[in-house]
Amino acid sequence: MAKLIFPTPSYFSKNFFKEALWLTLKRLDPRYLEQNPVMFVVFLGASLTTLICIRDFFYPSLFSEPIWFTGLVAFWLWFTLLFSNASEAIAEGKGKAHATSLKALAKEIIARRVLKNGQEEMVPTSDLKRDDLIKVVAGEFIPSDGEIIEGIAAIDESAITGESAPVIRESDSDRSSVTAGTKLISNVLLIRIVSNPGESFLDQMINLVQGAKRQKTPNEIALQVLLVGLTLIFLIVCGTLIPFGLYSHTPLSLTVIIALLVCLIPTTIGGLVSAIGISGIERALRKNIVATSGKAVETAGDIDVLLLDKTGTITLGNRMPFKFIPFKGIPFKELSKAIELSSFADRTPEGKSILEFIEKHYGRFFTEKETRGLTFIPFSAETRLSGCDGPSLSIRKGSCDAIQNLLLHQKRKIPPEFFKVMESISISGGTPLAVAMNGKALGIIHLKDIIKPGIAERFQRLKKMGVHTVMITGDNPLTAATIANEVGVDTFLAEATPQKKLDFIIEEQAKGYLVAMTGDGTNDAPALAQADLGIAMNSGTQAAKEAANMVDLDSNPTKILEVIEIGKQLLMTKGCLTTFSVANDVAKYFAIIPAIFLLSIPEFQAINIMNLSSPHSAILSAVIFNALSIAALIPIAFRGVKYRPRGAKVLLAESLFIYGVGGLLLPFIGIKVIDMLLYSLSLV
């Protein structure tokens, strides 16, 4: 796996701190706070108590609370707001730092734009528009995301993926896409720009981590509705307490009612919900996943079915030819020659590795001159065949059943060995490719897969999470079954064509499953778009990237595991903190209700079960606890609640115990401790 060499932003650098602090204060703006109704209520409460404090200073009245008390309540209410704002600002700063460090690479490059008439002009990157053509030569940086139109080259992507070995990118392949900030090592490329300035994936990403521009996810909106509802309920509770107090001959001050209100409304979750959302995206970014929306990350947590390509995901890159097996009566050399001819136009990794294999073991049979009169047929995913046609010859190479169909179609005989060899290769987990010339089967190429190390454990974890894994492969069912068994995927889709993949996804979705898929090729694009979550590899084509909701910069398809975890954590953190927030209310009631009535109705001493030192200290302790709990939970908001794949029941029981029961008991202790501190410091 690629090592991450993100220029890790130093969180505690002076600049970072300054910016976060500035943002924290700037966002006290009521127009901004309005977006978060829970915190807006806190803002109103803080403003009101401050005004009361000022009024009491100039016009002291007998019936109001002491000025130091109102002042302290106002002070801590403002801090409640600041803690909430700070959590958002820091989360945003972290995410932005990641994204901009990637983006910085792309800046200040002068690009060579190719005009329609073929002339070139030098322009700054920021002037590049979508569909502009640019030329990049060896040693230069790629100025903007794009797709190779012409050429093949080695590119150093280490700035993004951390992988130091250069990668090959070439036109008309599944690896035609280049990323801004990477460096061309060899050759010359003609590149089509795919995004306007400010619209690249990274730009989108930066928007996702910006609190102000962030689009809320559906679950976040639903949670917000719930929190607003709870706030409304507590507003009614606190508002009506004033007349009930009057009935009981206890006039209540506005300061006290505001303090009670802020303690009861779900500020803990309300204050952190934004930071949780941003941190989720930031954690994805830290794993080198660029998401197009927060919703995509959340959807990841719901995935039921995961479609993975075998090649490159489960098995290591290319399948290598193991040996050529000629049928009876066919000389080995004739087979080898036919294989070479059929592979010239085959741009699949297999085609290339076959050519390499031939060159390495037997040297090349044909020179370019000799093949001039032939028409080469590139591999197509639909026919699953490649080959070449000449005046007196027609060679086809492809999967066994494709060749078989071809021969049957031409009404030719299939030698009996065909099936025997095919089966024995399949059973061993290899892939047989058949070669036919002029309607006659010549022999079979035995390709071998190399399974990636560590892949089986990852499938085991996915299974525990409840994700059903499906391996997609162009192999025949027998080969597919062997490999599927070996690595532990649940099912496989053998002899897959793009249409078959798409149909499979639609079918699963109709059954009520949420489907995720990873892919890189242009022919994956429809399936990626259809899937509930499509993850494109950064190395893949532009079409695939545009169809997907996420791009993996490391091009590591099994990273979906981490994405699912991040998605689940995102929801869990919100759920757990909501539970915590509501559970806290019990203790706050027991602190504040006796306190506000104790002076006029001494009987309330009976429910002052925490035995707090004085009414003022009790109310202040609850307010302080409320503010501090936001600050204390910031790390959890950033990190996310830990997710372990152990089934919903165990997970829920554990979370309920920690955040429900914990949330019930902790404030009793916390408020008591704060009360004792206030008392010992003789502040109250």
Binding site: D304, G512, G575, T578, Y589
Partner: protein
Amino acid sequence: MILLNTLQIAALFLCLLLLTKPVGLYLYRIYETSSPFPLLNRLEGRLLKWCCFKHDEQDWKAYLKSLLVFNFMGIMILFLLERFQGFLPLNPQNFPSVPWDLALNVAVSFTTNTNWQAYSGETTMSYFTQMIGLTWQNFVSASTGMTVFLALARGLSRHPTSPQDIYLGNFWIDLLRSVFYVFLPGAFLLALFFASQGVIQNFSPTLHISTLEGWQELISMGPVASQEAIKILGTNGGGFFGANSAHPFENPTPLTNFLQMLAMLLIPASLTYTYGKITQNQKQGWSIFLAMFVLAILGAFLISCFEAQPNPLLTSFSIDQSLGNMEGKELRFGTLGSAHYASVTTDISCGATNSLHDSFTPLGGMVLLVNMLVGEVIFGGVGIGLFSMIIFIIITVFIAGLMVGRTPEYLGKKIESKEIRFAILFMAIFPLVILVGTAAAVLTPQGLASIQDAGPHGLSEILYAFISATQNNGSAFGGLNANTTWYNLFLALAMLIGRYLPIYLGLAIAGLMVNKKIIHASPGTFSTQGPLFIILLLSVIIIVGALTFFPVLALAPLLEYMNLLQGKGF
């Protein structure tokens, strides 16, 4: 004594447990098969045709419209009946027309299944009004409760195959079947049994009797048994007499007392089984039953503890308090027979009473308040109780779904912001109406003038009235003179909001959910059955339902209790 009563309540819950399945199954057959009784079914078709009702399935808006039109007509007719009862037959006492504010209050009260009574039946209503107006509304208001439950259950459980699948059933069919197949036969059998125990059924005018001491005594008469049966079975609770089920002609023996409690619980409890059947998840049905069961037993247990205590203020006098707090209770039921009945009637949103709730100990009275405050979901009123419970389940499932890291879904259907908005508004209605109503009462001279006792107990009286009206329970705490224009109008408003706004929101949720795609459950899905679900559901009910009211409860029954501990009375 205590042992006997404990055995009685144990027998009650045991009977309930045994009857839930067969009755639930019967209800399922009635509503969810196209023709439960082929012969009667043809009659049903005729009847619909005569009334010009369409036989087609309705979407949520059409269903709601039918329901509101029907209920509004009910209010109008009942109001007019009361106003013109002087000109109508069966009025041997020659009662004049009911004052307009009271008539409106009663019309709303009986149509909303609340049966809050600011009057005494035997001195206000003619037999005609009682039988044609009130008893009729007892049948149809209970049936209305059934229909909303059915619509919501269908909305949640139907598997849509096309975007046109937005139908929730037909209100008129559901209503007819509730009346003809459930409440009429049930009430008929129950009325016969009550009559056999001594509940009266006649049209005689009030009897004037000379007692042995030579005093003149008036004994009210009337067609009681027929109204008594549906009052209990339909969880209506509006008594023929002002004394309600404490009156020997309504509830003569401990056996009828027992049977009344069972009959109140029967249909609300059985519906949980029906719900399991409709959603094809019987375990969930039983889980909901258990959650309700736990709360019911908890309430009965607590109230037994509180009421078995003697009144500490009376211990200094030489009064035999071995029976516990007997004030306001009937001797033939005893302390616990009365306490259990009170607990059940507040669980069920019935509101029939066989004792004076005003005279309960402060904490005993608080149990009754909390029973109602949690949203009338401890079995609750027929249909409407489970209806509200399902809304609680939706909130529970939403929080649980977040906590297990999966987009929340219920019965395979995603819960999104719109449903949450309606569900949380549903929850907010009750504190809004109850607290604002009570606050308005304590701020206005008209509100304060009606209370009988000063201090926290007076607050309890007002609070109880608003809770009882908003939650459509209808039982009275007593002590409050509710027959004033102020209370008649405000409580009628509370009853209307407390009935129809939740119905609107619940049906809207049904309308949103009915066409949602069913998502397959995975090992990561939170399952809505089993102990964990029950615990979570109970926590949500207690926290949302009761926590909201902690401050006002602290100022009313809790403060009264704390005063009592210090020997202070009001």
